[in-house]
């Protein structure tokens, strides 16, 4: 399974490296979202600073939708799904590999967005261990659930519009938990960030476990 996951992730990242969709399209989109939020709330910079955690994770959510769509568009072209079914690859390995490739792209986007939030919103970043752990757990959850729902919608003609409708409600716990943890790390809200981080980690673990079990069936039916 891990050999297949490495093969799959390597292939997806190589495609991304060559096509540069993340760097030339999704990253600029992410910065635009941050910038537009900034323009909309500019009259009161205090609101921007207070809302920066939530705005950051909303932007990450939008970017993850694009990254997930992209990950499954490359498989939809020219009989890719049939070829994958015939390849002999372990479906669990395919799931892990695709999720890992999406996660790598999301981490890169989160770095870009974090820099954007600091510069545009004037956010002060503190509590690095908690922030980094949150980013990792939330990214794992986003990538795992995105891969799961991505393959579910992959075979449908309306996948571009259906995926956000299916996925955004599922990702609501990630948005809420990650925003709370960031709020705690920035000393803006009085919550136990580590408890919310535990919830994020549990979400990621459940989605990953479910993906490992169900991906084969979903791949067959997509």
């Amino acid at each position: 399974m891990f050999r297949d996951a490495v093969l799959m992730a390597g292939k997806d990242l190589r495609i991304e490296w060559r096509s540069r969709v993340t760097t030339q399209q999704i990253a600029p989109f992410a910065l635009l979202v941050i910038l537009l939020f900034g323009m909309a709330l500019d009259p009161d910079r205090g609101i921007l600073a207070r809302a920066s955690s939530g705005l950051f994770w909303v932007a990450v959510l939008f970017c993850s939708l694009l990254a997930i769509q992209r990950a499954f568009t490359i498989e939809a072209a020219d009989g890719g799904r049939d070829a994958l079914r015939l390849s002999g690859l372990d479906p669990a390995g395919v799931f892990l590999g695709k999720a890992a490739a999406i996660a790598v792209q999301l981490v890169a986007l989160e770095v870009v967005l974090a820099i954007g939030v600091v510069i545009i919103y004037g956010a002060e970043v503190t509590g690095f261990p908690l922030l980094i752990a949150t980013c990792l757990a939330a990214t794992a959850g986003l990538a795992a659930s995105g891969t799961l729902y991505g393959v579910l919608a992959a075979g449908l003609r309306v996948r571009e519009t259906l995926l956000p409708i299916l996925l955004l409600p599922v990702l609501a716990p990630v948005l809420i938990s990650a925003t709370r943890v960031f709020g705690d790390a920035f000393d803006r809200v009085d919550v136990d960030g580590w408890a919310w981080l535990a919830m994020l980690t549990a979400f990621a673990a459940i989605q990953t476990a479910f993906g490992l079990i169900a991906y084969g069936v979903l791949m067959e039916e997509s």
Partner: protein, 220 residues
């Protein structure tokens, strides 16, 4: 019987293919040739009847995965990634099937893709070059059963000769081939037996030259 949508795509297929045989499926468009090849690859379910391919019962979905590792399908779609090079594509699909590097390199050479073409992005290839790349992917897997759907389509004269040569060599090394083609003259010269499919049914009146069946591969 296999049903696609509301209509039976195959009904009344009676076909037995011996190991090492090359069988040509011929018939008009929509007769069910592609459906039969996809069914043999373990990509479509059988709704009624029986079929065994390489000893795997196709009515049992749990056996599909094991079967798929042993077959190679060259279909209308190539399954190639446009953003990867020819060599990257062949390497990925070969490694996915557990092929050693030597087999992957040999497949590139055998399909005439080893020099300048190996480093080209698939998006820049012609239809014939894509077909060759797809063939190299199949070859690197060394399948026991080759399922070729219109394999000559899009290939130039040299490509067709390469394909026919590879098919003959694969059979000489123990593989079995089931192919469909509208290029009957060339395909019939390649095949040991021709089976006609009309409206999802094998037509015994025009299915010819039965081969000795030492090891039945397909018994629907």
């Amino acid at each position: 019987m296999t049903v696609l949508g509301r209509f039976p795509a195959l009904a009344g297929i009676d076909l037995e293919v011996a190991a090492g045989e090359i069988v040509l499926l011929r018939g008009p468009n929509g007769a069910g040739k592609t459906t039969l090849l996809r069914l043999c690859a373990g990509l479509l379910p059988i709704t009624r009847g029986e079929a065994t391919v390489l000893g795997h019962d196709l009515t049992d979905r749990r056996q599909w995965r094991a079967l798929r590792r042993r077959v190679g399908l060259l279909g209308h779609a190539t399954g190639l990634y446009d953003e990867l090079t020819v060599a990257d594509n062949v390497r990925f699909w070969g490694q996915a099937a557990g092929a050693p590097e030597a087999d992957i390199d040999a497949a590139l050479v055998a399909c005439g893709l080893h020099e300048r073409l190996a480093g080209l992005l698939v998006a820049r290839l012609s239809a014939g070059q894509r077909r060759r790349t797809s063939l190299a992917c199949l070859l690197s897997r060394r399948p026991e059963l080759w399922l070729l759907d219109e394999p000559h389509a899009g290939l130039d004269q040299d490509g067709r000769d390469v394909l026919d040569d590879l098919v003959r060599r694969a059979v000489a090394s123990g593989a079995t081939v089931l192919l469909s083609s509208h290029e009957l003259e060339r395909a019939e010269a390649l095949a040991d037996r021709v089976v006609t499919i009309v409206a999802g049914t094998t037509d015994p009146a025009v299915s010819v030259v039965p081969a000795p069946a030492e090891e039945p591969l397909l018994v629907p």
